[in-house]
Amino acid sequence: MIKVSNIRKSFKDNVVLKDISFNVNKGEVVVIIGPSGSGKSTLLRCLNFLEKADGGKIEIGDVAVDVKQANRAAVSKLRMQTSMVFQHYNLFKNKTALENVTHPLVVAKKMKKDDAKQMGRDLLKQVGILEKENQYPISLSGGQQQRVGIARALAVNPYAILFDEPTSSLDPEWVGEVLRVISGIANKQKTMIIVTHEMNFAREIADKVIFMADGVIVEQGTPKEIFDHPTMERTKQFLKDFHRQTEVHHEFYGENTKAMLM
């Protein structure tokens, strides 16, 4: 399981995470929601040390790290336990779609080139983009790039996959296809932590929802508990604001956009 204990993080004087603790069971999908600036992304980035937290403990699978005492070897071992899907895809621009998936396998996992290729093709097929295997990122749409990003994250076969707002920079028309791919992975019992603003998606996919605000976990529970019966005032306020926004959205664009957001 994933066990995060007492994570703290500040950027200079700005305290972003105040003593965050939560658990994720194996095969569980945890969705983190909350207003912008609440520290969701930073929390995710602390888990694979893209940001170094100021203190706390991180345990993922069979690797446990005390953040303060972590040396380079421990950090790299912990990083091997996860992979990440980024808001801006962050594909390797000098590599084709297929190479984006296979390159890390060959250089970091020391996999044979042919085996990596085989696996890469399988994964590209799984995310529905095999026909673009030889294209470079610049010639792919946002949705296609993100699906390659997901295939790349799946390829290294980590204990858990971290999704950092995977649809936030996509054009609305591509959001659905990317969400469907993520749902497909969730159905395969992959452990995932997802930061997202797609509330309907969160409700659909999550085993557990964590609501964060101002650097703390305000409330966590099943999607039903969080979305239908929130107990904390801060959560209620956030959901109310969110619903008001979508209502305005629907009045403006019509009801059919609701289906699209699903």
Partner: protein, 223 residues
């Protein structure tokens, strides 16, 4: 007007004998400059404490003073302060001056090249278990090289021509030979025209080569 174009053509073979010296000085200087430049740029990008300031002073000095002054300082000046430099031949002094000077410019060019590759790609490499060195080699450097190539090529062309300054400390390269022929036959215009033509052709050929290579490595970035 009295131009003897036949003479221009006549002395070109004579001059070409010294082209290898020019190319040798240029290419060796460039290679050393690239190595120093890469090291300096990594110091600049990673803001390595203390060394960063030394690197900045180094770059500022070699970019801020004339290359001829640097050449004269190294060849005539250094032996007076450190007798060991009496051993330094004119060719070696020229290579030292050109590589130090060029490396200062390259450091800034390479820094910009490295910084032109967005951080996200390095983060992605890290997130799938690649080490810093692996990310550098496979992802960052190839893109940085591509971005830095046009400016680096300009430096190389500049260096081909600057290598002619070596004649001032007695290295017999292309220009020095041209000067010799010019004063022997008192055909200054023709001799220097011939020298100029050779530089022009060399830089032209190099530009073609670079253009072809840039095209080749730009493929991934074209829709």
């Amino acid at each position: 007007m009295n131009i003897d174009l036949g003479y221009v053509i006549e002395i070109i073979p004579e001059l070409l004998k010294y082209l290898p010296i020019t190319l040798y000085i240029t290419i060796i200087s460039m290679m050393i400059a690239v190595i120093i430049g890469v090291i300096l740029s990594i110091i600049l990008v990673n803001k390595v404490p203390v060394v960063l300031h030394l690197a900045k002073i180094y770059i500022s000095f070699f970019r801020g003073t004339p290359i001829l002054v640097q050449l004269l300082m190294i060849y005539f000046g250094l032996p007076q302060i450190f007798p060991i430099f009496n051993e330094l031949g004119a060719g070696a002094a020229a290579i030292a001056a050109f590589s130090l000077n060029t490396s200062a410019y390259l450091a800034e060019i390479f820094r910009a090249g490295l910084e032109s590759v967005d951080r996200g790609q390095a983060e992605a490499a890290t997130s799938v278990g690649m080490s810093y060195a692996q990310a550098m080699r496979g992802i960052i450097l190839p893109q940085a090289v591509r971005n830095a190539l046009p400016a680096t090529g300009n430096m190389f062309i500049g260096l081909i021509k600057n290598s002619s300054l070596a004649f001032t400390i007695g290295v017999t390269e292309l220009l020095a030979q041209g000067k010799l022929l010019a004063s022997a036959n008192l055909r200054f215009f023709e001799a220097y025209l011939a020298v100029g033509l050779i530089y022009w052709i060399i830089t032209f050929l190099y530009s073609q080569l670079q253009g072809w290579y840039e095209q080749r490595i730009s493929k991934p970035y074209q829709v």
